[in-house]
Symmetry: C2
Subunit: 139 residues, 2 copies
């Protein structure tokens, strides 16, 4: 595997609306997508463009949202994961498993419409790592 683009940094927030105000009014973001629900992942999502990558704002969606525990520990929100692009999600999954890392579940459709999976943070130096098939026509 060759290290791919950092597609985004995932930032958990108790309120996407408040975070949008922060990124727009303080940080000066000029391209902020419309928030949308991703029920399969249990999150509401909003992408903020930087010139070279994106911040993915994620807010809990539903009672079983996987980021509720994170927000209980970090009520103000915080950095939740990083996401790298790969050309082929299945090749990548086999690669990580061959290296002995724990892949969390089967590839599923992620926020950019292409398959993703997560790698266990304990196998990635404490960094929850999302692997995403490069979005079509993205770059």
């Amino acid at each position: 595997m060759i290290l791919g683009r950092l597609n985004h940094v995932g930032v958990a927030t108790p309120s996407i609306a408040d975070s949008i105000a922060l990124y727009r009014d303080v940080m000066g973001a000029t391209a902020i997508g419309a928030p949308f629900d991703l029920p399969a992942q249990g999150v509401k999502v909003c992408f903020v463009d930087t010139p070279n990558t994106q911040i993915e704002l994620i807010e809990p969606l539903g009672a079983d949202s996987p980021i509720r525990a994170f927000l209980e520990k970090n009520p103000a929100g915080g950095q939740h994961h990083v996401c790298y692009e790969v050309p082929d999600i299945h090749v990548a999954k086999a690669w990580f498993e061959e290296k002995g890392l724990r892949v969390l579940g089967e590839p599923r459709i992620g926020a950019h419409g292409t398959p993703i999976f997560f790698v266990h943070p304990r196998d990635m130096g404490g960094v929850l790592t999302e692997i995403m098939a490069t979005p079509k026509g993205a770059h």
Copy 2:
């Protein structure tokens, strides 16, 4: 202010040597800088290039390293901060202060040789945020 490039994601690690092995052998990084000490910040630093940004590996340097507390809470390491580029560090500092955010100390020379400062994570949705004058000839 206009949101600038994400210069890097800062990742704390108890061992830069172990993290280099992970990023090289598992993640497939092909451009990894030589680690160097940044005594003024109390960290040892190593930059890993991705195609569009960098991961900054940081390991404690000295007994008073500001990342020791982070590693006590997160012994395996983890996402520590994000760093955005700005054209002028003093204009940026005045901007954040005018917006009521807490700037942590005066601008000082950072890992890329240009002035940096940090903004308090409580004012940035829980994300410790480094602001860096764009490195010369960087892009």
